[in-house]
Amino acid sequence: MLFLNTACILEDFSDEELKAVRLANGLRRADRLTSLAAAALFRALPERLPHGFSPETGLLTISSFGPHKTVFAMLDDILDFPEDQILPTKFTHSVHNAVTSYLGTLLGLHGPAFSLTCFESPIFTLLETAWTILESGLCHQVLALAIEERGLLTAEATKTCPQRFPVEPREAVGVFLASSAPTDFRLTLDRAKQLPRHAENPFGLPDETLEAFRTRQSFTLGTTCP
């Protein structure tokens, strides 16, 4: 049983919104993936930011494609410049856990922090890992985010692998705040329960899951299969 304080899937981030969040929070160099995550936090938990979390709060991020725009920017450097002139900022931001370290620093979180990646059931895996950490006693609250950015790679995945990606994955952020303290909003996680993947929805989640998040309706979350 996972107790949730917050669960929401957020979309439609404008460049202006992302820029404003970067400038207001010392994230001038942050890439799009980090900017999306930070902007989503400000939408989902404005009263908690930036220093409203216990410092021991755990932090999880998950992404299928990761910071692929920044990885490609790093490859641009490799292709266009002498090898000893690669920009260090592009490299540091191309690492999968850059977004986690940015958010942890922004929020002052010292709890267990993990950066995860999977294609098959990102939201289920994220929340299952949150439950694992809470049950271990490593912390009593976990902030968990699923983040996906759109770019050349997601567009190409749709063209190359249409059976698996019939439409381009949506740019979206899932924000979850899970706690070991009981709340009325409870998820039961059942890996054996397989839900149909809805390609048009963010993270492939079925409509009923999105509705449960919106209405804070306790339910059993299963994995999503193609």
Binding site: P55, L59, G66, H68, V71, F72, M74, L75, D76, D77, I78, L79, P82, E83, D84, I86, P88, F91, T92, S94, V95, H96, N97, A98, T100, S101, Y102, G104, T105, G108, L109, H110, G111, P112, A113, F114, S115, L116, T117, C118, F119, E120, T125, E128, T129, T132, I133, E135, S136, G137, L138, L152, L153, E156, A157, K159, T160, C161, R164, R191
Partner: protein
């Protein structure tokens, strides 16, 4: 919270020391270990020595690339060591937790060189990326039933995968877990670490006054972990006893110099294992050979052990294997406990003035020590402490 230890039924690894446990053990204690060399598997103009896996016939064109190839070598050895057949594994609840850095990026330069022009490149590199999530791939290929996760926590990825598997087993989410890490030599980290000025042009010298940075390496390490209730296999039984995990919230790349959060992670792991700091026989440090990492770790060791404790870095033997490092070094730690001999910190000679006590200068016999600590520090100030043991 004290947790039951997880059993380790099997181990497998591949690194610059060779393929498999039998090749690794003598190399851990060798008087004249192999030196790094300029890479032959990468096209690079940088004159930076690296540690490659000797004798590896590279097969990059597969899901997960060379990282998956390395992982398969380690996994096959670990499964054989655990005497587990694939059919047996399908009957049990088996989780898969794998750490990596390069294998979860699409970093194929020739593919991208075409893609960015607006043309359609040959699709294989993209398909290999989409089908190459390491934990999903193993899960799918072995037909397993249990949790699965690929961890990409930079240089702590492999250690974190072991830690998460330890928690899964404690919480009865699975009966067995395949846990470890893998990474191949790759142009992005080579160019990237060079851009940060932390690659050594010479063989690395962790904790030494003359240290000039890290050498990259490659490899994989896999542990087959099990719940306490699973019967022992013949031979030595290893254990994972504790897992501590904290974040510095300090800087996107550098560790917090005071190491407060690393110290907290070590204390968490000790508490989880139900051990006191004096129960540890030695520390297998992350010890990259960079100024910042080594200073942070040494300052924490000095606070925890004012009278000193044997410690070493094995990165002068393997290079920094990134997402594999935590798993490979956890296995090195288990092997040292089995051999009851802590390996010296190779290529260390001179103690810097800002480090309180030196790492091991000679191989050290252990006197009935059953537990040791392996630390991992990663980009973004991510600290991991794992306590390992023998029964």
């Amino acid at each position: 919270m004290t947790l039951q230890p997880s059993k380790v039924l099997g181990i497998g690894l591949v690194s610059a020391l060779g393929t498999g446990v039998s090749a690794t053990v003598p190399a851990l204690y060798a008087d004249n270990p192999r030196l790094p060399a300029l890479p032959t598997c990468l096209k690079t103009d940088l004159h930076l020595p690296v540690f490659d896996v000797p004798g590896l016939s590279r097969q990059p064109d597969q899901p997960g690339g060379v990282s998956m190839q390395l992982l398969r070598l380690a996994l096959d050895e670990a499964l054989a060591d655990a005497r587990l057949t694939k059919a047996e594994m399908r009957r049990l609840r088996v989780g898969v937790a794998i750490g990596t850095t390069t294998a979860c990026q699409l970093n194929n330069v020739p593919f991208y060189a075409v893609l960015r022009t607006g043309q359609r490149p040959a699709p294989e590199p993209l398909l290999d990326f989409l089908n190459g999530n390491l934990a999903e791939l193993i899960h799918r290929e072995l037909g397993l039933h249990g949790p699965q996760i690929t961890v990409s926590n930079a240089c702590a990825s492999g250690a974190d995968a072991i830690g998460l598997a330890h928690l899964w087993l404690h919480q009865d989410m699975c009966d067995l877990a395949i846990a470890g890490g893998t990474d191949e030599l790759n142009k992005i980290p080579l160019d990237g670490f060079n851009s940060l000025g932390i690659c050594s042009p010479l063989p690395c010298r962790p904790f030494d006054a003359e240290r000039r940075g890290l050498n990259l390496g490659e490899g994989a390490g896999v542990l087959i972990m099990a719940r306490t209730e699973v019967p022992d296999r013949p031979g030595t039984t290893f254990t994972v006893n504790g897992f501590g995990k904290t974040a510095d919230a300090y800087h996107i790349t550098q560790p917090s110099p005071d190491g407060t959060e690393l110290e907290k992670a070590i204390r968490q792991a000790l508490a989880q294992a139900g051990l006191a700091s004096d129960d540890l026989g030695f520390i297998n440090a992350h010890g990259t050979g960079t100024q910042a990492n080594d200073l942070t770790e040494a300052s924490v060791f000095a606070r925890l052990y004012p009278d000193g404790i044997p410690y070493m870095s094995t990165k002068a033997l393997t290079g920094h294997t990134l997402g594999a490092a935590g798993a490979i070094e956890a296995i090195f730690t288990l092997l040292m406990l089995r051999e009851q001999r802590a390996a010296r910190s190779h290529r260390f000679s001179t103690l810097p003035p800002d480090i309180a006590f030196a790492p091991l200068r000679e191989n050290l016999p252990l006197k009935d020590k059953r537990f040791a600590l392996s630390t991992s520090l990663a980009f973004g100030g991510s600290n991991t402490a794992i306590i390992l043991g023998i029964q």
